[in-house]
Amino acid sequence: MKQSERLGIFEKVRAQYSMFLLSVLWKLTGDRELFTEAMQYTLLGMWEHIEKLNGRKAGAYIYRIALSANSRAWRNRIGRNGEFTRSRIDVGKDPSERLDRVELAAKVRKAISQLPDRQGQAIVMRYLEQQDYEAIAGNLRCTQAGARSHVSKALAALKDKLATLA
């Protein structure tokens, strides 16, 4: 494929999925540095696999690329200092509760980054994107029962991971 053609596809896909990437990567990272790194890796992944992004399955590939990029960004962070940074999410009522929630959210995010491919996608679609099971099944190309199974397994896996992170 010619460079100009690759660039054309990249720009089209970049424009089409910019909001999706912004939303999903921010929700997966909750931290500006991690987000930037995950976004960089996603863009790199898109460019490296640009041939695959010129068709109907582009969305599915982008999902995988984004989740893989997120995992990579988290791995870098974990390798660097093992610490969580505190995001600005504000889900608690008082400061101490808020802090606990923020730290828990970071742990949940880290655990998501370690999930297997389809479980990661399932949990992102179900909770971060708030999709119904019909949509998840369509995106994962499986039955609704299959989608429920992926989400259920992902939740169980997350619970186990969080127990070890606690």
Binding site: L7, L43, L44, N81, Y127, A166
Partner: protein, 407 residues
Amino acid sequence: MNKESFEEILKNIGAEEIPADVHKIAQETSNSFSRSLERAKQPKQHIVWEYIMKSRIAKLAAAAVVIIAVLLSINAWDKTTPAAYALGQTVEANHTVRSLHIRDFMPGEDEPKEFWLQFDEQGQVKSVRVYMPEWDSPSDGAKIVVWQNGKAKVWFKKKNALLTVREERLAQQMLGLAYRVDPRLAMERLYGQEQQGKVKVEIDEPSDSAEPIAVTATYEPESSRPGRREVLFVDQVTRLVTAMEVYQLKDNEYEQVGRMEFHDYNQQIDVQMFALDDEVPADVVRVDQTTQEVGLAQENLTDQKVAVEVVRKFFEALIAGDYAKAGQLMEGAPADLIQKQFGQIKFLRIVSVGPAGPHPVPETKGLVVPCILEIDNDGQTIQWKRDQIGVREVYNQPGRWTIFGGI
């Protein structure tokens, strides 16, 4: 953690709104990547390389401009303050502020910039600590600056880097702030300006002594700051200025453009607040521009010629594997960092360097230098081209020039 709270956290993450500055980061990151693709004509793998290198190196190289950013952003809604107060009043009156904690709020931002100032017996600035929130520069992240003895240390938390530079203006600017909020001098200044016909001063002293006195200074239309209004809030009991708000007339209404709160007048600040070396992580990347001559001496070369020479010598150093020399020419970055960033590229020879041209961002006061090199790419010699390598004078080291802003 039970399943209920765990799912609740997941749902909360899903419902979380994306902060405005994250939109900006996403756009900057995406556009930057796209531009690097458009510029590059090299094989696919090499573009990936280039992009990672650029983003890593640029992070550190940008560090040296931060002090300037700090200077500009202190009281950003009132940039004329230092000029007005820096020198003139220091010889006329001694301020009574010995220490102060300032919280500087910008409209639309919850987190303030914060300043801790410590003065000596003579009223001169002894130590300064500044906290710059992430919103001030999302790509840099939050920063802490500590100034003492003519040196400023900037800790880039996100980049895990500690930069040390010579710096005098920061102290001068802080001195100006002290004059501005000194309980005695603040009023003298306003009355002096009123006598000169520059401002109209109104004082509102509430009967409830718990309420602060509001001193409103409205600039006259023919003054140098037409449409501007400053309000000082003075505690009725202590007579200390507790806050200052600044407004600007817009569409016949005064719109608030900034608010500073002043706390802990003359209360001793913990010395640890100014001991940044004890605070940074052990593995922080240290770049000290005060213990080395950064960059290349200009001598009798023109700006354009020295810029070309800096780039040439930088790549000569990389070809020779002299990473210490290359680091010196790139903001004084440590050799091991340069090796980490560039050591994987096998530079073969310089094909061409220059001529230098104006930098696309004039505020950088830099030049850009194009260059072409040959590098080994998996046994194949390919050309490696850069159109705009930024070069400018080293911060506070006049006559010396350095690469900045990444390769």
